[in-house]
Structures are given as C-alpha cells and as structure tokens.
C-alpha cells in the first residue's frame, strides 16, 4: 500500500482512499471542534431554566383557563410593571411528566403546580422544590391565610407527624375549589315523565331511570370512567357514605380488609349499575371529554362530573338546562362528595425570584382577580369573599363544600397499586367479567403485597 494513502472499507476488503477524500489536519480540527460544541450543548441542556432574566414563569395544565390567565398576566404587568408568562402543558399526564423531568434537571419554573397524591407532593417538598409558605401566609395577622376555604388550604399543607416527614406547614396556594357531583338534564328528566325539580335522590330510583332512558333511546349515565380517578371518586363517595371515613382510613392502614361486607356492598353497587342498563355502552373506555359531549348534546340524562363541567357545558351548549345534585343515597347516612380543593400553585424554592413569585400569587388570589377568574372560567374561587355570590349551577356545588372529602386530608393514604386494582376491578364488574367478591379478593391480595413492601 503506498505511503500516505488513506483507507476505505468495501465489504470486507480494504482499499486505498483517493487523496481528495482524505482528512486534512484543518478538517480534523473542525470535526473535533464540532464534537466539543455538541458535547457542551448537550451538557448544558435543561439546567437553570428559571434563573435567566425575563418574565416570571408559571407552568400549568388548565386548558380552560389559558385566555383568562393570559389576561391576568397583562393586568399584572400593567399594575406592577412585572411581566408574567403562563405556560400551558396539557393534558395533565403530559404536565406531570414535564414537571417531573424538570425537577430532575433543576429546570422547574418560578411557579408551578404539583399534581398527584400526598406522597408525590411530599417528595417535591422533601427534595427542596417547594417553598414553605407559612411565613408569607402569616404576615399581617394571617391576612393571606384567612382568605381561603379551610379545606382548600388544608390539602396544600402537612400536619405535624405526617408519614412523609414533611415539616408541618402550608406549601401551596389554592386558586380554586371544586367537587364532583351528579349533573342531571332537566329537559330529559321531564321527557322520561320524571319531575325535573325533584331528581331521583335514592339509589333505586336512580337505577330505575336506566330502563326509562333505554326505552326512549337515551343514555342514562355518562362519566369519563376510562380515567380511573373518576371511578375512584364515585367509589370513595359511596364507601364513606356506607362505612364512614374512619373505616375507609382503617382500610388504607391495612386494619380493615377489602373483603369486609361494607366494601362488598360498595362494589355491588357497580354490579347493580350494570344490571340497570343505566351507564352508557362503553363507559369503561369513555374519556371525560366524550362524556361531557354526550351530556352537553342532550343524549345523556346524568353525568358524574366536576365543577369545571359548568364551564365546559356552557361552551358546548349554552342552552343546556341542567341541575346538580349529590350522588343518590343508599341510606339516611350523610352523603359526601369528592373535592374540597382544586388547582393550586407552589413556589419553586430554588428560584431566585421567590419574593416576586409570592407577590404574584398574593395578587392572583386577591378578590378582584378571583372574581375575574370566576366570571371567565366558571370555577369556584378559593378566595371565600370572591365566592360569596355565585351563579346558580356553581352555587349548588359551593353549597355542598362542607360535605367534601379529599384523599390528601386523610390520615392514611391508599397505595396507588391498590387504587389501580380497585378501579380496574370496578371496570371488570361494569363489563360483567368479574363479581364484586372476586374484585374484593383481588384488591385485598394487592393490598397485602403493598403492605409487605
């Protein structure tokens, strides 16, 4: 082989490379330089996003509030001269990923929300991603703290002796409050020969609507039960109604079995639902958006949905005539509704602009801004003064705020694998492939595994 020639590989043979294609020293420097630049660029990815100058950054997942938030950002800049940028990452699953990835790379914005269970919130706090708010809340004789509904603040707080070893205190600022109830279409109830002013408030009367609805080609009941948390809400409401909160908490602690007759009764409700023909065909794979469309288009008599439904139905069908009620009772025991808290923001403890972030959140939760959010998005404000005068459908939700339960307020939390087994099991009951007893046994097995871990 001639000296100074380069090599090229063709199949398994090696041939000299033409001189024109050989790598010159200058070219090799370019390649090395490009590689270094690339490596530096990669190494720099995702760090310190919150540290640069520019607007205060707020991450959220609330698609129905984009325009309202943008308007509030403009107002804030006009009033204070400080720029704020709301950045939407939706749906909520995507938002959760985004926030988690940002937390791992120290790229969280100045203000954001933590979605998930208490243990997720606690992890963010323990990892130093969330600023404690007690000092700010307690200033001027607790002026900020007293603005909020107590439960709305309580779900953003940790008590002394909590199992996650989070120092006690408040860590989040509630923006609104919500609960999940039963919407009923007054026009369709009248069509079925029922009194729209007195919707069925007992379980059996509720089930009986299934047959009537089918006869008239209507859907009895819709809800986004492909989204497991809505099934969990429904089941938890009836579990607390049936056995009381203490027994539910005792189940979470492992002191009461899911094979207990009370849990059997709760699971059997879903078998009864199925037999009644009340739920929509395919409710177990129905996402909530689809359920909302069916209710807004007057194809379904009942919808199990949250406070946000008021805004959704208003935008889909402004003429929809509906009411809101608690879930039908099984007995004289009090009925509860899942909720009490809504969307919240936290301040990034590692941000260099925590004071600005706190000032903005204080402004956002003040009465004028909360009133604007109420008018623009039809959500119940977390600010009690702003929530004093609500329009009719929202007032129905607000009236029941005292009956709300929220898992973050429980002394014990259920393991997520158990919640999944329970809700998936309920899906199996609804499609008729498992009995309540089988599901109870399976959930109990999963619970035992979770306790062993």
């Amino acid at each position: 082989m001639p000296r100074g020639s380069r090599l090229k590989v063709v199949g398994s043979r090696v041939k000299p490379l033409p001189r024109a294609l050989s790598l010159q020293p200058r070219a090799s420097l370019v390649v090395v330089g490009a590689s270094l630049l690339l490596a530096i660029s990669i190494a720099g990815c995702g760090r310190g996003a919150e540290r640069g100058p520019g607007p205060l950054r707020v991450w959220h997942w609330m698609t129905d509030r984009i325009e309202a938030f943008d308007e509030l950002a403009k107002r804030y800049e006009r009033e204070t001269g400080a720029a704020v940028r709301f950045e939407l990452y939706a749906p909520s699953e995507v938002y959760v990923q985004k926030v988690r990835a940002a937390a791992q790379t120290d790229g969280l914005p100045d203000v954001y929300g933590v979605l998930g269970e208490s243990r997720d919130f606690a992890s963010f706090i323990n990892a130093g991603h969330v600023l404690p708010l007690d000092e700010a809340m307690n200033r001027e004789n607790q002026a900020w703290r007293v603005l909020f509904f107590p439960n709305a603040l309580a779900v953003n707080a940790f008590r002394d002796g909590n199992p996650y070893r989070v120092p006690p205190g408040v860590y989040g600022v509630p923006i609104d409050v919500m609960n999940v109830q039963l919407f009923y279409n007054k026009t369709l109830l009248a069509k079925l020969g029922l009194d729209p002013a007195a919707p069925p408030s007992a379980w059996q009367a509720f089930l009986d609507v299934g047959k009537l609805a089918k006869e008239r080609g209507l859907i009895g009941f819709v809800s986004g039960w492909a989204e497991l948390w809505l099934i969990d809400c429904f089941a938890m409401d009836y579990a607390i109604h049936q056995m009381g909160m203490r027994k539910v908490e005792a189940t979470y602690r492992g002191k009461v079995s899911y094979r207990n007759p009370d849990w059997g009764r709760v699971l059997s409700l879903f078998a009864q639902l199925r037999e009644s023909g009340l739920p929509a065909e395919g409710i177990v794979t129905m996402v909530n958006k689809q359920a909302e469309q069916l209710f807004a288009n007057e194809r379904a008599v009942f919808a199990f949905n949250g406070t946000w439904g008021v805004n959704v139905y208003q935008s889909m069908n402004p003429g929809l005539d509906y009411g809101v009620m608690m879930l039908p009772r099984l007995s004289e025991r009090p009925m509860v509704t899942w909720g009490g808290a809504g969307s919240s923001f936290v301040v990034n403890a590692t941000s260099h602009r925590t004071a600005e972030a706190l000032a903005f959140l204080a402004w956002l939760t003040a009465e004028p801004q909360q009133r604007y959010l109420l008018e623009a998005t039809q959500n119940i404000p977390a600010n009690r003064v702003a929530a004093a005068a609500l329009p009719t459908p929202l007032a129905a939700f607000a009236d029941d705020m005292d009956s709300t339960v929220h898992p973050r307020l429980f002394d014990a939390q259920e393991h997520s694998t158990v919640i999944e087994a329970l809700t998936k099991g309920i899906q199996s009951i609804l499609i008729g492939e498992a009995t309540p007893e089988q599901v109870a046994a399976h959930v109990d097995d999963v619970k035992r595994q979770a306790l062993q871990q």
């Binding site: 090395v32 590689s35 395919g282």
Partner: protein, 305 residues
C-alpha cells in the same frame, strides 16, 4: 499551526469521523442505559431523594437489590398478561398486516394506471399521528353512536353491534385492527422496493418455461423477497411489541386490563404509581425480551436464502 504527520493523521482520521456519532450514541443511549439499569435496583419515586446517586448514603437508602426484579417475575401477573396481549397483536400484524402489505405491493408493482396515487394512499396511515388515528377509530368503534355499529344496523346486523373497545371479547382485536390499518404502509413500501429489484427477465424466462403465476410467485418472488420479508417481520415485531400511543388514545389499557401492553404498564409504574425503580426493572426485562427477538432475527438473516 497544528500539523500531523501523514501516518498519525491516517490513524486518527477514522476515529474523528466516528466521534460525533459516538458522542451522541454515548450520551443518548449508553449513559441512559447504565442509569436505567442502576435505577432498577432502587426504590425511588423519581423526585426524592433528588439524585440517589449523589452520595453513598442516598444510594444505600434507596438501594433494594433485586427486589424490583423479584416483584416483576413473582408478583406482577398483569405485566406478563400485557406481554401476551402485545404478542397477540404482533401475531395478527405479522400475518394479516404483512400479507396485506405484500398483496398491495404486488398489485401496485404491476404498473397499474395511477400507481403513484395508490402508493401515496397506502402510505398515508403510517405518517398520521397515532393519537389522531386512535381518536378517529375511537369514534368509529363507539358503542353509542359509532359509524361501525350504524353500518352494521343498516346492513341488518344490528344484533352484532356492541361497544367494540369496551367489550372484553373484542377490545384487543379492535385495537389490533387499528394497528394493522395504521402499520401496513411500512411493509407495503418495503415490499414494493424489494419487488422492484427483482429483474423482469426472471419472470419472462419462467413464463417461457411455462410457469404459471403461482409458480412464478412461489419460486421467484418469494425467495428473492425473503430478506425484505425478514426485515419487515422484525420491524413489525419490534414496532408492535412497543405499541403505546394507540392504546392510550383508544382504551387506556381497559376495559380492566384487557388491552394493557408492556409499555402502558411501564408508564403506569413510572408516572401512575411513581415507582421509577420498578418501572426501570420492567423496562430492562422488556428490553431483554426484545433483544432476544432481535438476536433471532440476526440468526435468520445470516441464513442463505
């Protein structure tokens, strides 16, 4: 100015050419792989401790040895069911999807009028977003007002109507059909490219020798397309086993666990129940199984056709 001797630059040059790709591969594949493997031995929720590898103390607090793997193999029947379900979709894809792709490729290869239009049409589904495709089919299959049920009713087959994606008997097959519809275009393009490399002279010679269409297909087309067929099959297996977005857009893994596949289970462990370590262990097991299929493919490829 830096000057290298010809001999030195000769030896360095190939490495410099490879370096950028190597850096990218190391940063985006090798490093994450080691991190994933290390995380699979931890009980970690992905948030706290902030970095379990920061110190020996944080690592030892989260370290659980092989516990995650033990749980994958012993206590997670749903994960293995999800494999079987992905396997079912894969078998359907390997047979029906690839057969359809081959048939259509052969039809278009006959230089039909408007062949270009067909090529574009058949390649349309693969380039559509899986989420969009999922949502379209979600409405088609809808049990209450879906087009599919409506068509069956109008054809006098009203008794067959059902919520296709919510019925445990039909959900997985319904999802598989969407996947086949979306995926056949890839095989079609590859088979078409393969068919166009077969010289016409071979077919002409066979015709002269009196070979009928079946014999020409059996003895010319099939053997010469075999390497393409192997590649298409392997891509089908790997692509189908990793099906995810379509499931999320249509059933979310339901009803119950009937359309769960391995990636939805890993996703659920990671973000649904915040068990990063466990999700990594599931990912490693899943990766090893896919590696097995890849090795089988390599063995097939080495065989003379």
């Amino acid at each position: 100015m830096l000057r290298m001797s010809p001999t030195r630059s000769q030896s360095v040059a190939p490495y410099l050419f490879v370096l950028p790709a190597l850096v990218l591969f190391a940063v985006f594949s090798i490093y994450p792989f080691f991190l994933l493997t290390a995380t699979s031995f931890l009980n970690w929720d992905g948030i706290y401790p902030k970095n379990p590898f920061e110190s020996f103390q944080t690592f030892s607090q989260a370290f659980v040895g092989l516990a995650n793997y033990v749980q994958v193999f012993r206590n997670d029947p749903v994960f293995w069911t999800s494999f079987a379900q992905a396997g079912y979709i894969t078998v359907l894809a390997l047979t029906f999807q690839n057969a359809l792709a081959l048939l259509l490729a052969m039809a278009v290869n006959r230089r039909l009028a408007g062949g270009g239009v067909y090529r574009t049409l058949f390649f349309l589904p693969p380039i559509l977003s899986e989420i969009v495709v999922g949502l379209i089919w979600f409405w088609i299959y809808d049990g209450n007002f879906g087009i599919f049920n409506e068509a069956l009713t109008r054809l006098g087959l009203g008794a067959w109507t059902r919520p296709w994606l919510a019925d445990p008997k039909t959900a997985l097959t319904a999802v598989a059909i969407i996947h086949l519809w979306k995926g056949f275009g890839w095989g079609f393009v590859m088979f078409l490219a393969g068919l166009q490399t077969i010289p016409d002279e071979l077919y002409e010679a066979a015709r002269v020798d009196g070979a009928n269409a079946w014999r020409r297909f059996r003895h010319i087309t099939l053997p010469l397309l075999a390497p393409v067929g192997v590649v298409v099959s392997i891509l089908t297996i790997l692509g189908t086993m990793q099906i995810f977005a379509l499931i999320i857009a249509t059933t979310g893994g339901g009803p119950g666990y009937h359309t769960e596949v391995p990636i939805t289970r890993i996703f659920q462990s990671m973000l649904g129940s915040s068990r990063f370590g466990y999700a990594c262990a599931q990912g490693i097991v899943f990766g090893l199984i896919l590696l097995f299929f890849s090795l089988v493919q390599m063995r097939f490829q080495r065989r003379p056709t």
